[in-house]
Symmetry: C2
DNA sequence: GCCTTAACGGAACTTCCATCCCCTTAGCGG
DNA sequence: CCGCTAAGGGGATGGAAGTTCCGTTAAGGC
């Protein structure tokens, strides 16, 4: 939790012109920083427990041991509060792994995502945040930035794999990373069982095999053939497979 | 829109024991059916326009030209209303395609999902429904049933492909179908651009290649090798590829 | 076609959440 | 260390969302 960064995109002034100075931006030290840390922590707890619809700003305030007025003045709405929480979460992103093989890195990523989604606190928290983003526009923007950062971090694994000749040059690295996360989130949202380790491995292997077959090439060739989607030697000098 | 089926899992009586007869179950004909159809239609419109958080039952009532009391009595809450809407949507599921090849069928499915998600009405509606399900428990149950039905319908394509020898026997058909939808939903929720046709093709091809490589086998062999994930001849007599 | 009563509908009522007012606390420049 | 004022806190206020009451309409059995 860093000092000195104000809330997200909300406009608690309500005048819409953004000219009024946001509370917390002039004296960001001491108490102001403590209040922000405390409120964001409380907001995360409340979201994990009651979901976005059940998010009561008065409850957040009392959990954080600050006045209700303070929460309303600095964040203004539940959506803006979640957006600021996402800014805070984005700053705490973990570094990607470097196992030496793409499949190894993708599996590390998949397990990280999977463990996050089944975590008793983080899982419900992510569900709640996704709900908030589907509802509130400023939250949606913060969520996109959050995933942009995470995806860009792990895309390095894919670029490294291209250099090693594991997968074809011209592969859209971010698409590969997204292909790993997607099945895990889909399962979280549409089935009763949260993703398990098997699901994580399948997600990583699926993305790996598809990347290897050239499915995520930025310039896409014609329809793939069974067993040789996108051609076994699509665009580069790499002699894997066979 | 069928007559005779009451609301979802909500308990508008509020007594919690479920013994009180639900409104609409004794005289489901004429007016009652008209009211349900009209309210569900209005709820869908309102959801698509304002999202789940902006769903006002009074607004739904006036759109549907029924009394507010009626909506509260028969559905009781926004979540229960969305749950009933999902029951209605599940009944209108379209039949799967039969192009003769797995890749062709998966592409048809991917395009169907993609077109739904970018549709001016359906896209926002699905976003709103996902938000509702992440928040409300009865909605989540209805959503799971909805996808169970859809996935089961398209799983037939995968089973046919196994019989044709396109992919290994023992493949988890529903996992393959989910693998097609997942990237499209993930993109809808976490990026600014809704999925396009390229994304749909990638989703279908990725699932196809992974299925062919044995990633979705119910009994999973050891870690896959590059170019031969799950073994080129995993479990059956099929001579595709090479 | 009549009767019973399920289901609908309008309006008053209650509750809860966001906002406003004004006083208190404490960050930060001098 | 002092003073100015940004930021926080408690309580009152206004309004919107949900609930209840009771009269009205029409479904379905005879």
């Amino acid at each position: 939790m860093k000092d000195g960064d104000g809330p997200g995109d909300g406009d608690p002034d309500g005048d819409g012109d953004g000219c009024g100075v946001l509370p917390g931006s002039i004296r960001p030290g001491g108490r102001t920083a403590r209040v922000r840390a405390s409120v964001l922590r409380a907001a995360g707890d409340a979201l994990a427990e009651h979901g976005f619809a059940g998010l009561d700003l008065a409850d957040v305030a009392s959990r954080a041991q600050v006045g209700r007025t303070t929460v309303y003045r600095r964040w203004g709405s539940a959506g803006a509060l979640v957006a600021d929480l996402l800014v805070d979460m984005a700053e705490q992103s973990l570094a990607r792994s470097r196992t030496g093989s793409l499949l190894g890195d993708l599996k590390e990523n998949a397990r990280l995502v999977q463990r996050t989604l089944v975590d008793p606190r983080q899982g419900p928290l992510f569900r709640a945040i996704l709900a908030a983003a589907a509802t509130d526009d400023s939250t949606a923007r913060a969520l996109r930035r959050f995933y942009e950062i995470r995806v860009a971090e792990w895309a390095g694994c894919v670029d490294d794999a291209v250099e090693r000749g594991e997968i074809p040059a011209g592969t859209d690295a971010r698409e590969v990373v997204r292909a790993v996360s997607a099945p895990l989130y889909y399962r979280l949202l549409t089935t009763a069982e949260p993703p398990d380790e098997t699901a994580a491995n399948r997600a990583a292997e699926g993305a790996f095999v598809a990347a290897h077959a050239g499915v995520y090439l930025r310039v896409r060739p014609g329809a793939p053939q069974p067993g040789a989607v996108g051609d076994p030697e699509p665009a580069g000098e790499h002699e894997v497979g066979r």
